[in-house]
Subunit: 337 residues, 2 copies
């Protein structure tokens, strides 16, 4: 298998990207192709010992940055590392493409170059949602589609369920819709209609999930529109940061507290790592004709390594084909409305 | 001033309601009228020493419970403590009504009995949003209107701003819209149009606020539709509970940690209280012709006491009249679209 890595995307590219690739390569036998400015990537690679047959460079002379308008960037920056990477997946020159670059451009590029899986109206970005002391959930859509129709939520639920089972190994995953009450009658016209569609599906649908239950792992797959998904992810991140900041201030004010904190040092560090997105791998784009994974823009080498290692099953487990196979059932449910 | 209290609403009524009223009465000179089953309330009051001229009972033979359909309950249960309380505000027999009962019924009753302030299309529920180590924000709408138009968000911003200034004493409060990006062009058709409306207003509008910034007090007034507002509030509550639970587990596993935790006991307890909704008072209903405040259904006596004490300015500061006075400016902005 050939894993394609955008060497130029993200806040710490190419330094952390290359370092992460070298670290990941030690744990796998697959080939990693880093796409980007040959000289810059070579300069970074020189810092490490690595197998030159396992880590290759594919030169790309241009870069899509975060200020670029997504569609325009994809159409005009043909020589960018991102466009090259997606195109290589389409041409069978790679099995998986990972980028920490411009999210909008990665979604636009996936749509324009690979195309949607027929029958999927709206591809989505899925995101691992960490559960303290428990197994992570998968949140779909994590922000790609701010406004959705009920059919789209059904698609997100189906694709999320397949990814959860195939890639994260959770059998018959529980699927819930984010809503403002547990009752069927609660919510917007969209969530109510989506609830009815999901009841007709063969998914393991557990109904509405209130936001309060999300951090406790209320369902394996958490379905919502991209606006709500973005709010859920960002607020969780903000709360975790805010609580840890407060905890640090609290636990170091006063001598007695300082002493207590010294005794607890390892525990608090462990708690912090449970919130650390870099442990959880990236966010797959679901519903396009090829495995594309988005990494956090601020990814450090550890995040890069984990995204590579945890992204491999997206390609190996034929997720794209399985989604394609599920479309017939989706069509029947949609038409029955 | 006469404060009307629903003696029968909430999970711990009338026990905690009466206890909270007695505790609040000690700190104020206003009269508190507890509305509900005379015998039950008398039985609770007998447990305490209190000024019989300051705490009165208004008998109500019926109760609206959480299973009741809101509008039907308001229309048919005329003798319920909730309907009586709202009616007493309308008739000038009380200056403020506080209830821990059925939220939907309290909103429906406020609309049907008191009516909307003319020019306010959608009354909203506002909620205090605690900021760790900082001044609380006010979230509007906290869940009353799942689907909103841009005009509604402008109304929420205006009413929230008035409440923040008059009741919580924050001068020229900063107003932000919850959105999935800081840029004007981000979001849904509704948030984009609301952004334009708010730019035309005389409010201290600071633009879009990403959910990640909410726990850090990004704006004094946080504006969003009721679906997003409910998600923000409930997720914050869930995250706080989840982190504290994990913290407790972490800090008591192993002897060294236990010892450290003993030294930190006071600090951790203090941290917990910062998350405690019962410290922050209730949620005002804004946009109806009278001051109505919703308490958390699980309110204990401390929450009841704080809601009474912190609710008084809603009546004293003429918030309803100020909202009425602001409607003209609102109409001009709406028409200019």
């Amino acid at each position: 298998m050939r894993i394609l890595l955008d060497g130029m995307g993200g806040d710490h590219a190419p330094l952390e990207i290359v370092k992460g690739a070298v670290e990941a390569a030690k744990e796998i036998t697959h080939t990693i192709v880093i796409i980007g400015d040959q000289k810059k990537i070579e300069a970074e690679l020189k810092k490490y010992k690595y197998d030159k047959k396992q880590i290759l460079i594919e030169h790309a002379s241009d870069v899509i940055d975060n200020c670029d308008a997504p569609v325009k960037a994809v159409r005009t920056k043909k020589e960018s590392s991102m466009v090259k990477g997606i195109t290589m997946v389409k041409e069978g020159k790679g099995d998986l493409f990972i980028s920490a670059g411009n999210s909008g451009a990665l979604m636009a590029g996936s749509l324009l170059i690979l195309g949607r899986i027929q029958g999927i109206d709206r591809p989505a970005m899925a995101s691992i949602y960490p559960i303290l002391g428990g197994q992570a959930s998968l949140l779909v859509d994590a922000g790609a589609n701010a406004e959705c129709k009920p059919d789209n939520l059904l698609e997100f639920a189906t694709m999320g369920s397949i990814y959860m089972e195939k890639v994260l190994g959770r059998k018959n995953p529980k699927v819930g819709i984010v809503n403002i009450g547990a009752e069927e009658t609660k919510g917007t016209t969209v969530t109510k209609a989506a609830h009815e569609l999901l009841l007709k599906s063969s998914l393991n649908f557990v109904g509405n999930v209130e936001a309060r239950e999300i951090p406790f792992g209320a369902s394996d797959v958490i379905v919502c529109d991209g606006f709500v998904g973005n709010v859920v992810l960002k607020l969780t991140e903000g709360m975790a940061l805010s609580v840890l900041k407060k905890l640090k201030e609290t636990l170091t004010a006063g001598l007695k507290a300082k002493l207590g904190t010294v005794l607890l040092y390892d525990k608090i560090k462990g708690l912090k790592s449970e919130f650390d997105y870099s442990e959880y791998g990236g966010a797959p784009i679901l519903g396009v004709k090829g495995p594309i994974v988005k990494m956090h823009g601020a990814s450090n080498s550890n995040a890069v390594k984990n995204t590579i290692l945890k992204g491999i099953p997206y390609a190996e487990q034929n997720v794209v084909q399985t989604i394609l196979d599920s479309v017939l059932e989706l069509e029947e449910i949609k038409i029955s409305e």
